[in-house]
């Protein structure tokens, strides 16, 4: 049992290994980055949205 959470499943090494493996499988089912890059060649609008989000976040946190 994980003493911090009181959860018997927390810290179970076999579960952690299985979750890590599941994450790999999940990513393996997605197209490779090369294919994705070809698919999303023009992300100018999103680039701008993320740039503005970052600026707003820094302003909000007084940085």
């Amino acid at each position: 049992m994980d003493r911090r959470t009181g959860d018997e499943w927390s810290g179970d090494s076999l579960l952690l290994d299985a979750l890590q493996r599941y994450a790999q499988r999940m990513l393996g089912e997605l197209p490779c980055e090369e294919e994705l890059s070809a698919r999303y060649r023009n992300t100018a609008r999103l680039d701008q949205m993320i740039g503005e989000l970052e600026k707003a976040w820094h302003r909000q946190h007084g940085e």
Binding site: D7, E8, W9, S10, D12, L14, L15, L16, D17, A18, L19, Q20, R21, Y22, A23, Q24, R25, M26, L27, L30, P31, E33, L36, S37, R39, Y40, T43, R45, L46, M49, I50, L53, E54, W57, H58, E63
Partner: protein, 181 residues
């Protein structure tokens, strides 16, 4: 974390994973511009948890971003369809169900089998199991990340654990009564 460090990390995350996030959102929303909106919303959540991301360039981070984007996109899809996502009913919790079934397993070869069973769960269960046990987020943090209530997170965790335990119980490799000598 300093301003520059945060900016560099965010830019790195974006450059490395924006395409897979777009793909994940577009598959759900079937609309590129909405998918862009979903990626932006996902990054709003990522910004609040930037300090928890150790390495932008690893599969653990990539899977985390896919999970967050999937949940943001599903919420947007439901809002578009005006489908209220029902708060799941709270079930009676059987104390014995909290006991780990993994301690019965004799071999590390079973990792692959457990991963397969996790993959068979509904994503709403596997996602919270991942966020709770692999990424070690609190129930409240998970609620914010997947846009639901902490109560609903606890219900999903309980149900996910119960469903996974049931799948393992049906497999003789994990059935303690058959394996125990």
């Amino acid at each position: 974390m300093e301003f520059d460090e945060k900016s560099v990390k965010l830019e790195r995350l974006y450059a490395l994973h924006k395409n897979v996030m777009l793909y994940t959102a577009e598959r759900i929303l079937r609309d590129y511009q909405l998918a862009e909106d979903a990626v932006q919303k996902s990054f709003m959540k990522v910004l609040d948890n930037l300090h928890k991301i150790e390495d932008p360039d690893c599969n653990k981070t990539r899977a985390f971003l896919v999970i967050i984007t999937r949940n943001v996109a599903i919420t947007m899809y439901n809002q578009q369809k005006k489908q209220a996502v029902p708060i799941e009913e709270i079930e009676q919790v059987d104390c014995a169900q909290g006991l780990t079934p993994f301690e019965e397993v004799a071999s590390k070869e079973s990792v692959e089998a457990i991963a397969q069973y996790i993959g068979q769960l509904d994503k709403k269960y596997s996602d919270v199991l991942m966020l709770k046990f692999y990424y070690q987020y609190s129930d409240c943090e998970i609620a914010d990340l997947v846009q639901t209530s902490p109560e609903n997170v606890r219900v999903r965790l309980h149900r996910g654990k119960r469903k996974l335990a049931a799948l393992l119980k049906g497999d003789e490799r994990f059935n303690g009564s058959q394996n125990r000598r």
